[in-house]
Symmetry: C2
Subunit: 444 residues, 2 copies
């Protein structure tokens, strides 16, 4: 049995490991275009900001991974083509072209930054945040720049802005919506973030769309539909898109957001070919709808399932996602899980929602922070289907995890009110914020 995995990121590394572990006699290949595997692109903003060493943005060296896991790791290896009929991939490596046949193939090519089709995106100084392999160079360029224009106020835009400000750069953020992260958060929560980013000194230009980029003298000029901004550098943080070129070329069907269609076993519509991670479509567990959210934890687990199933047959199911994500801007942590009120309403689900402001510790215990919790509850059965949390405390992450599990298990607001959550003055008020928001909704 020969299993070939394309892509050495979260999903691919996890898939290769699991396939080999599940069937130790199998021959497993891990093909990676760059020179590093098991890399952590989520760490790039923090490596740029100097918080994280770049050379720590991967877990295993290819050599160690090969040796410890018994997997053939081929780095600097570009897969040129997948031949689905002959069950083979064409690779180019060190100037040589080869073919590797497979019994099972797992495509884990991840996602790539969106580059809009406008004038100037290829100019020197117009950059994207994409892969730890290119982070050192990006950091050098950023170190030389003074005034940096970030286009896009989503997760990556926020995280890179935090780190550019940390480096003392002048940062302009251009966002087409009226608030930062408004695409994924309800307005009240997006507003908290927007105000905080403004307060910390970023220059925000909201409700402006990128039109083109030009170079003028040593500078770059970003034109929006309303204004022009001059900077030393432009970082495009417009989101990512599935890195589906190989799959598309091979005729493997694509679905939502052009991610590869997979069944619950992570198998594509082509027999013996699996897909996992950011290149694969997801299922939302709440709505049952197909969706696409590129995040490392799901990628790891999808890789685990795909690797298991490629080796053993389809014995394992990936049940889908809830839609949990979290970010921070300095000390403000913001997370969401399930559906926002806006998303629920747009899907025609009748909901009630409530936002409360509460405290993270007993009122008499030092060091507590204000926390905001919003619940979205389905009217038909009083079940929680969405939550958003924000506050100047890492406790936000814990609330989010608790609510993610509550949503996953179809918890009602009455059940949340009676939940037996941890209490002592240093970790929560006696009326825990999650219990309090449930209480408020219960009375309505």
């Amino acid at each position: 049995m020969k299993v070939v995995v394309i892509g050495g990121g979260a999903a691919g590394s996890s898939a290769a490991s699991r396939a080999k572990k599940t069937m130790p006699n199998s021959e497993v290949y891990l093909l990676e275009e760059t020179n590093i595997i098991t890399h952590a692109p989520c760490g790039i903003p923090y490596a740029i900001g100097g918080l994280s060493p770049i050379d720590k943005l991967f877990v295993y060296s290819p050599e160690k991974f090969e040796k410890e896991r018994g997997i053939r790791v081929l780095t600097n290896t570009k897969v040129e083509e997948i031949d689905i009929d002959k069950q083979a991939v064409t690779i180019s490596r060190n100037g040589r072209v080869d073919k590797i046949v497979f019994d099972k193939l797992i495509i884990a090519t991840g996602a790539k930054p969106i580059k809009p089709i406008i004038n100037g995106v290829e100019l020197e100084g117009v950059e994207t945040i994409r892969h730890p392999a290119f982070t050192e160079k990006l950091r050098e360029k950023i170190n030389r720049a003074h005034r940096i224009i970030v286009v896009g106020g989503g997760y990556i835009g926020i995280e890179i802005t935090e780190n550019l400000l940390r480096l003392g750069k002048k940062v302009l953020v251009i966002e087409k919506l009226s608030l930062l992260m408004e695409k994924v958060l309800d307005k009240e929560i997006a507003l908290l973030l927007t105000e905080e980013v403004k307060r910390e000194g970023a220059e925000l230009h909201l409700e402006e769309s990128l039109v083109e980029i030009n170079s003028k003298d040593d500078k770059l000029v970003v034109a929006t539909d309303k204004n022009e901004y001059v900077g030393d550098m432009v970082i495009l943080a417009l989101g990512v898109t599935p890195n589906n070129d190989l799959a598309k070329k091979a005729g493997i069907p694509l679905g939502v957001s052009n991610a590869i269609v997979v069944n619950k076993h992570m198998e594509t519509l082509i027999t013996n070919i699996y897909a996992a991670g950011d290149v694969a479509e997801k299922t939302n567990k709440i709505t049952g709808e197909k969706t696409w959210v590129p995040l490392a934890p799901a990628a790891n687990k999808e890789g685990y399932v795909a690797g298991n199933n490629a080796a053993l047959g389809n014995t394992m199911v990936f049940p889908g996602i809830i839609g949990t994500s979290i970010t921070k801007f300095n000390e403000l942590y913001i997370g969401r899980t399930g559906l926002t009120e806006k998303e629920a309403t747009s899907k025609g689900i009748s909901v009630k929602a409530k936002l409360i402001k509460h405290h993270s510790k007993a009122h008499y215990y030092p060091g507590g922070s204000e926390v905001y919790v919003k619940l979205v509850v389905r009217n038909s059965d009083d079940v929680i289907i969405g939550a958003q949390v924000a506050g100047y405390t890492e406790a936000v992450a814990g609330y989010l995890d608790a609510l993610s599990i509550a949503i996953d298990k179809s918890m009602s607001i009455e059940e949340l009110f009676f939940a037996d959550l941890g209490y002592m003055p240093a970790v929560a008020p006696v009326w825990h914020p999650l219990v309090t928001v449930a209480r408020v909704l219960l009375k309505e």
Copy 2:
């Protein structure tokens, strides 16, 4: 309709508020023996340690509560007797004895510290941690002492020890079990705590039982079954017991740990009489067994249910507890929820359990801590029925809440493995500790 509530702590205040709110025309009395209500005894150790102002250890002044909530608040009022036939309570107040008749009575007399029946417990300098009303005096005594002997290494023993060390006192802890908090934690977790308390300079005397206390010169001499220890002061932290004197005298039936027997509506076995909070028996949701755990969050909610039901009839159900509790010692946070492995085994439940050591943040992100997570899983259905978490980070509280909800909703380890928990480098590693422990158990 006249509702009388005995006890102005968490349960009583909550019950009185809810009764009045549910039925605004009712006449609601709140009877409190001390001069403060809505008090927070959990804060006493921190008030002693100087972290929390004593006068903040209550939420409402009696006057404010009376005015804002429309409740008759009688402080410095001792209830002498409950006459269940005549539906009346006898009170003494300002030297006068009165009777108040009731349509509904809610007993919320809380818990009191255990005082062992041995020589010397009444000596000057032998103290317990009991009520915010007596905290100022206790603090003054502690301030004058240098060498303090804490008897009992449970929650209160640990919390007072932390604060005595903070004040620079020499602290000896005497515990009859082989580890601190061993009654409520499995040994591996109790060991982490015990080592930490030792490291911070407390002198531990484990596996020793208190025999008697004597005074000698200006000192107190604590005799155990093995040794004698001399100190300026002794703090008995041997746990609490239901404050059931009134109920017992009135013939209201008592159950587990001598707490008042209640049904799911928080009604006692006597018609028109409810009980809530630390004086009332609880039901464990996992085992269905009657139990007794004195904690403020459940007290608040039982009060809420009792108040609602006293006013409206039995329309609301208190579903029971899971057994969640958390404490900290300096920066080490330790929590438990559901059953420990030891508890499960002692109840004849066949379980598997696993303890992992993991990291609280991405390995490349600064400021992460080691965290320990132990899951207890029922073999018959792979459902999680217990968890313990420890680590030098407040993230422990969030893990505990997430696991409490998981246990409450009968989550299986496979479901926890696939849980969509929040991830970004600053709040979790990409393989979240809770997902990781589930993965390890899944493979077994």
